[in-house]
């Protein structure tokens, strides 16, 4: 084979490769030209028939041609592959604004969210959870808490009594759990919180006959009102932020003395005065005080040695303030239009 023939071979091969429009044709061209039965292999095989002085050059040329075609084929292959991938991807494109495959969305109740937050903060401050029955004895709900039968405080707490079950009632506050917890742990130092459901014969926009409270109790030797103040302030700062204005105000509860209520700066008007805080710039969040000696004694602690503080707040009220809910009854109707408001909206 002459040198001119190699050139001719090259021309034909390049033409064939150039004409291959897709990967399949390219593969066919590769087989045709570089395959074991292709012209280059044929030519290499027939070198031995060429004149001896040409064999070396011919061999070199043919091998160079093979390498060149190999390179061109690979390059062409890559480019066709890329093109084909691009085409496929273009076909696979979706309208990303179509809706996602929906999942049912559930979620917690706003009251549970408020309760969980209160419990979380109080557990961080060192309190453990205690619970008690919702059907309580008259003794624990009232007498043990220093509220005898004709005490004026009973009028604040209109009570549900039970048919055929004298001496039992639906607890009007979570405070009896204080006494139960004390009885279970006296004379050890105690820090408990008691979240739970309570009942009063009252039904309007701000009062529900069924509602929730959380109660806190600390008992030990040397517990003073300065401890109460620091605990409440710490609690309020963790809940409302470190800068929130706070004030303690003397108050009255039969089961604590001295008693005080905690006010926090109104989160709505930032203390300027608005409808929610009735212009005072403060909102009442909880009642508290030093545990009355009578109650300590009922709990099995000797009031001459032990003192304690207690506090309690309404969870509904906290949730209503926090989420801007104006009717307490909404919390109990399970209206999905209401329950679905407390997270990102369903698109």
């Amino acid at each position: 084979m002459a040198a001119g023939s190699v050139e001719e071979l090259r021309r034909q091969a390049l033409e064939a490769i150039g004409g291959a429009g897709d990967l399949e044709a390219l593969q066919a061209a590769r087989t045709t030209w570089l395959g074991r039965k292709g012209p280059i292999v044929d030519a290499l095989r027939s070198i031995k028939d060429a004149p001896p002085e040409q064999r070396r050059d011919l061999g070199l040329e043919l091998n160079r041609l093979r390498d060149e075609l190999e390179a061109i084929l690979s390059e062409r292959e890559q480019s066709l592959e890329g093109e084909s991938l691009r085409r496929r991807l273009a076909q696979e494109a979706v309208d990303v604004t179509l809706p996602g495959r929906p999942r049912a969305i559930g979620g917690p109740h706003p009251l549970r969210m408020a309760e969980a937050e209160l419990v979380r903060v109080l557990r961080e401050i060192g309190f453990s959870i205690a619970e008690g029955p919702e059907v309580e004895t008259e003794q624990l709900n009232f007498e043990a808490l220093n509220i005898p039968a004709d005490h004026p405080a009973r009028e604040m707490q209109d009570t549900f009594y039970l048919k055929d079950l004298p001496g039992l009632l639906l607890r009007t506050h979570t405070s009896p759990v204080q006494v139960r917890a004390m009885r279970a742990h006296a004379p050890n130092p105690l820090r408990v919180i008691c979240p739970g459901r309570v009942y009063r014969r009252d039904d309007d926009v701000t009062h529900s006959p069924v509602f929730h409270q959380i109660e806190g109790l600390a008992v030990g030797e040397g517990i003073g009102m300065h401890h109460l103040k620091a605990t409440l302030y710490e609690f309020a700062r963790r809940l409302f932020g470190p800068e929130v204005p706070l004030r303690l105000r003397p108050s009255y509860f039969p089961f604590t003395e001295p008693s005080a209520e905690l006010d926090v700066g109104c989160p709505f008007c930032r203390g300027k005065g608005c409808r929610v805080c009735k212009g005072s710039g403060f909102i009442e969040v909880l009642g508290s005080g030093m545990v009355h000696p009578h109650v300590l004694r009922e709990g099995g602690y000797d009031p001459a040695r032990f003192t304690g503080f207690a506090f309690g707040l309404g969870i509904e009220r906290t949730a209503m303030l926090h989420y801007g809910i104006d009717d307490v009854r909404l919390l109990y109707t399970s209206d999905l239009r209401f329950l679905t408001q407390f997270q990102g909206s369903e698109a």
């Binding site: 459901r197 009942y199 039904d203 300065h226």
Partner: protein, 781 residues
Amino acid sequence: MQVPYSWILDILGDLPPPDDVAEILTRRGLEVEGVERQGDGLQGAVVARATGVSQLTPRLWRVELDTGRGAAICVTGAQNVHEGARVPYAPPGTRLPDGRTLELVEFHGQVSEGMVLSADEIGIGADHDGILLLPDDAPLGQDLASYLGLPEAVFDISLTASFAQHCQNMLGVARELAAALGRMLPDGTARLQPGDTQGALAVRADRALCPLYLGARLVREHERPTPLHVQRRLWAAGMRPLLPVVDLTNYVMLELGQPLHPFAFERLSGGIEVRSAMPGEQIETLDGVTRALEPGDILICDGEGPVALAGIMGSQRAEVTAATTEVFLEAALFRPGSIGAAMRRLALRSEAAQRFAHGLPGSLPWRALQRMAELLPEIGWRMLPGLAICGEEPPAPGAIAVGADYVRRLLGMDLGTQEQIASLRRLGFEAEGERELQVRPPYWRIDVTEPWDVAEEVLRSVGVDRLPEELPPPAPRVAEPPHYALRLEALGAFESLGYRDALSYSLCEPGELEILGRPAEVEIANPLSLDMQALRTTLWQGLLQAVRHNLGRGRQDIALCEAGRVFHRAGDAVLEADMLALVLTGTRLPFGRYDAERVDFFSLKGDIEAALTFLRIGDLSFAPSQDKALHPGRQADVYSSGRFLGRLGEIHPAVAKQLDIDLPVMLAEFRLDDLAAAQGVAQAKSLPRYPALIRDLAVVVDQAVTYGRLRQVLRAALGELLVAETLFDVFTGPPVPDGKKSLALRLTLQSPERTLTEADAEAAIARALKAVGEQCGAQLR
């Protein structure tokens, strides 16, 4: 309680502005909930004199006025204007507190140059029928707002039970303010001396109910109206001015806190007796209502029977009227608990009852009578000498011994003995001593009897703001109820599957519990309403109510979970259980591009399996149950390792219909303690080292054979070799014979010890087929 600023100002002489006073009172525990400004905005009205009054029409009068600056003519519909009367006159251009601005108006051809004003129009009273008649010494032409001291600030104070005892009167509020401002305390008036006790009515009293009863005779000497300032204060304090002598008793009650009751003397016969009501006894009170009484209620009686429900309300029989010229005035002490109980039971919260119910200082009746005697001449009345006295003034409580150190430790405040003494003296207490203080409360503080009461007074006196802040030393944590954390975790598991957390009342209508086959076991003796008569025995009632509520508002796709207590009865005890319940209905996903799943029994079952698995509760099995509330063929009990956990099912259509629900609703309920007991411990196992083989198997069985049974047999036959089985088809109809069904399963076989061979798998399948053939009548399909 409504407290007019001007009244307190009058007692104390001078005061900071109303807003500052409100702040001071609030910080001392007398919470001011609001400050009303009566007559705010009145501008331009003056004091005028009626110089001529003539009738314009049968209902209208033409009044000629001397305004101090000239003459004017007004038309009024009021009937009480007479010539010479001083009246409030509002010329055209006057702005009234309600925002109106007056203009010239013509009535029947007479131009009215503005108006003469009623108390209501000025904003200081409710009476709008008549013109507010001013005293004859009111200076002509003076600006009315400045003459009347408008606007009148009135504090709305929320009294706690402790303050209701000593601050439910103007003097008490003034004392608190004086103490806060470091002023001398007003002591209250002197006491009336017993003097001559002849000539009064005879009084007998049950001393347990009425320790002290004083009766004075009052006579009218001239007919005079109640002074304007008294009327205004009554009104500002929330009471309506009535008749002069009645107004004065109310005035003294508001000022000192001692309720007084005037009886028309001529309508009493015989002596006065104070006694307990008898069983079945009744009284018609002043408001015309007949009240059923109970023993323990206190009655004031004369020779003919009851004339007043003591301390609460009088009766019409001895009521004082405009014609009354002689009064028997009662100033007494009644047993607080009796008054409070009757007041609450009868829902008669009169001003008097609210004061008696909290207890009164023993000397107060004497002080109130003295004050009455001083004020009576202002209305043309006089108190006759000669008091009726029954009983004795209860002794003042003795001194209280309080350790100075006790106060320091209880408050956590470093207060020196002298500082404690000074703080108590500021409140009118006598206090002395070194390490132990002897503290004697002032006469008006009968509520302070114990060392902790004293500590509270010290704290209030020095101010709560001075309390230091120090966190208490830590105490060991105590064991928490196990279901508390689980409750949140379980709710969270179902919430993540699409359920909304719901809360229902635990009180419900017993009928609904009955329909659900879970009748009420505990009922309320004094329910608030018919739908809150019983404690729930199941959470299903509330959840179904929620379904009904939402269906009524066009929401059909409902998935709710609730954690709460149910109540059962065991003899004389009530047992409470914390439950977790679910309700599911409608479609899983709303109408849209993707297929919505209409929920059924298996939707809820799948959710339960997923959530329980998430909660580490495994080895679940389900067995048909028999619950009348549920569809007989679509309900099951749920077990974990053979232990009962709860029940699920589709509501029985008949039950749903009774509850006004017309679509299939899935229900489930679990006891939290049972779930807590079934929770496994999270524990790692080594990963399988040898590959698994997968074999599919289809068998034909009788319709009656359950998948659960088949699975049980398969598991027993294959033992630990079977690591998973998945049912992927259930088929009935040709070619499967009638009464039979085909079940297709994919079995995953794996050995922890070696790689299974084809022969191992074939042997296992043969073993499985033999077992299900023998025990379930299954044939290979």
